[in-house]
């Protein structure tokens, strides 16, 4: 396999996903490293049952200070960065002032204290930043390209690296939520809704895959902000149903007959796909239990309008200082 020169510089942004071989030095190949370089699912190499830790390990250490941040200041929701909000956590940082796109070469060379290292010439911060951006775009684009063919669950959030903000436009919906639609609306409507939803996701994934300048700049804007994004926090497919909704068992769902919609909950709601994706807060449920005792995130404001509109909205999550 080709040896990854970026990894040898301590600067490979793909981590475990890299298609090239990650060895520190060529001589290390015979050095006790039990890891087979091929991450394939248990079928190659002599250590068939050996689960090699994914090379997420490498980026673990770069995110060390980032994760400590979260623990020491639980209410710091702007704290997925080392921002000024964090209190008392600076002493845990081994790597100072790292923002999302600004990995200095120094931070990466700290990992290999035990090994003799090649001296790396310090890179200018601009070069580092644009290289980081370029590889970030590349990662996103490649992940989007792989997604459809891998048959993975399509309605998932996505972040280009672990512990980074989710990319906007891809709401996080669980399979159970989708399945619920079938029990609520019957096969035909279920299929229609699914087609519409799939269209939205496919469109967004293609945008991210083909990376126009506009996509790039809006990504940088979104990911660079310190606001934690949970773009689907309040996204509720079931804006229509509440207590008293009748669910049919699957044996009866084959009936395409319309299911009762909870118009008592929100009389203005029509049964269009649009309304299905209104965030939960838009529906005021009169029989709701009292509001949660410890408020954590404000649900996103109602948007209404086209489905596409819904998925583009980044909720104005409030950061608590």
């Amino acid at each position: 396999m080709v040896i990854c020169k970026f990894y040898q510089q301590g600067n490979c942004k793909f981590g475990s996903r890299c298609y090239n071989e990650h060895v520190r030095y060529n001589e290390n190949r015979s050095r006790g490293q039990q890891r087979s370089q091929n991450d394939n699912y248990g079928n190659r190499g002599r250590n068939q049952n050996y689960v090699q830790p994914s090379r997420f390990d490498d980026s673990n250490r770069q995110h060390k200070s980032h994760t400590t941040d979260n623990y020491s200041s639980p209410f710091n929701r702007g704290g997925s960065n080392n921002t000024n909000f964090s209190s008392g956590s600076e002493k845990h940082h081994t790597q100072q002032s790292i923002d999302k796109f600004h990995w200095t070469s120094k931070s990466q060379s700290n990992r290999f204290n035990a090994l003799a290292e090649l001296e790396e010439p310090p890179l200018s911060s601009n070069t580092v930043q644009s290289e980081d951006h370029a590889s970030m775009f590349k990662t996103i684009s490649e992940d989007m390209a792989l997604w459809p063919s891998s048959k993975m669950w399509p309605f998932s959030c996505y972040s280009y690296a672990k512990e980074k903000n989710c990319v906007e436009g891809l709401a996080d919906i669980q399979p159970e939520e989708i399945r619920t639609l079938y029990y609520l609306y019957g096969l035909e409507r279920y299929r229609n809704i699914l087609d519409e939803v799939e269209l939205i996701y496919t469109k967004r994934k293609e945008e991210l895959r083909y990376m126009s300048e506009e996509t790039k700049s809006s990504l940088l804007l979104q990911l660079g902000s310190s606001i934690e994004s949970n773009p689907s926090a309040g996204l509720s497919i079931y804006s229509l149903y509440g207590p008293g909704t009748e669910f049919k068992s699957s044996s009866k769902v084959a009936d395409v007959a319309a299911f009762p919609t909870q118009s008592t909950v929100n009389p203005t709601v029509t049964s269009t796909t649009t309304d299905l994706f209104k965030p939960a807060v838009a529906q005021s449920n009169p029989s709701a239990l009292p509001p949660p005792s410890s408020s954590f995130i404000q649900p996103p404001p109602a948007t209404g309008g086209a489905l596409g509109q819904m998925f583009k909205t980044v909720p104005a999550a409030e950061t608590k200082p």
């Binding site: 699912y41 997420f56 400590t68 979260n70 891998s150 993975m152 669980q174 159970e176 949970n230 207590p243």
Partner: protein
């Protein structure tokens, strides 16, 4: 196979969750999209009880050996007394209930919902002890000693101290890039295992200190390469063997793998199950593994998937579940 059999009277629709009784390996609870919660006698292979919700049921658990708690799409929390056969609606959420767990350390039942809250319930008085906001819809939960770990949409993971719910103890992000599917905590309570829809599992530790965080890692699993294209399957279920601390993962590919998280090895892979594995549970003594297999949880979204929903009970051996002693590997 003599060591594995299928339960009689399996649910007639997708099986959302299976749980063994905390005190005996004889009884197994199963919740299903057919709106029922059933109790099975595994030694006799018979269905003992069944009670119904008004909607598909997404999770169930034992609060003690004679009480079952469950919740589903209609948001009502139901408790069923296995002795009297009486069901009680204890309370409700504003939206569907996704998870139901019982914490024995603090004697509290926790329900997690798509309404972005978790609620605590007293098993004796049935009172709602509190309701707590989460950063997003609750997708999965796991009790860890006197703590509860909540996985929400948007890859957030929140750790609460059930003895002190005034604030979040830890707020973290999943270290995986895609939607969180399942979280289960280690029996030693040092950490948890988190799986995603992207055929990947992360082993994480709760101690935020730098040295401990270095130990965390992730690995790929439940992927199948066909014609040069890698199919990536969701890892729907995780279950820990309480004595050995090894864990099983079940995926949409229909396979169950046993892993040794500390030595980072796969111990074994069981045979292919007829459909996607939706839920796993070890008995308290680790002698049996319940595998729920439902086509509903397969890769296809179409509701009319072929195949039957079934629960398989497998007598597991030490060879399959016990960590291997190191044999000279570095």
């Amino acid at each position: 196979m003599a060591n594995e059999f299928k339960l009689n009277n399996c649910p007639t629709d997708g099986i959302s969750s299976v749980k063994f009784s905390p005190s005996t390996s004889q009884f197994l609870l199963a919740s299903s999209w057919d709106m029922s919660v059933r109790l099975y006698d595994v030694t006799e292979n018979s269905q003992r009880f069944k009670y119904e919700h008004k909607s598909p049921v997404l999770d169930c658990c034992f609060s003690d050996s004679v009480h079952s708690w469950s919740g589903g799409l209609d948001g009502s929390v139901m408790m069923y007394d296995l002795n009297t056969g009486r069901e009680t609606v204890v309370g409700r959420h504003n939206n569907s209930i996704r998870c139901v767990e019982y914490c024995s350390d603090t004697n509290v039942v926790v329900t997690g919902s798509w309404d972005q809250t978790i609620k605590l319930w007293d098993p004796r008085s049935h009172n709602n002890i509190g309701s707590y906001s989460q950063p997003g819809k609750v997708f999965t939960m796991s009790v860890c000693g006197d703590h509860i770990i909540v996985g929400t949409c948007g890859k957030s993971v929140v750790v609460w101290d059930l003895r002190n719910m005034g604030y979040v103890e830890q707020r973290r992000e999943s270290s995986l890039k895609y939607q969180t599917r399942c979280i289960k905590s280690f029996p030693n309570k040092q950490g948890y295992v988190l799986s995603s829809i992207e055929g990947r599992v992360a082993v994480e530790y709760l101690d935020p200190s730098v040295e401990v965080q270095k130990k965390k890692y992730a690995f790929k699993c439940h992927r199948i390469k066909e014609n040069g294209i890698e199919h990536i399957y969701s890892v729907h279920a995780i279950a820990f063997h309480q004595r050995y601390s090894t864990f099983a993962t079940g995926g949409a590919d229909g396979y169950v793998n046993m892993w040794d998280g500390f030595n980072k090895k796969r111990l074994c892979q069981f045979h292919l199950f007829p459909a996607a594995v939706s839920s796993l549970a070890f008995s308290n003594d680790g002698s049996m593994l319940a595998v729920a297999s439902s086509p509903l949880y397969g890769a296809e979204l179409s509701p009319s998937s072929n195949g039957e929903d079934a629960i398989y009970i497998r007598h597991v051996t030490d060879a399959e579940t016990k960590p291997k002693t190191s044999s000279g590997l570095a």
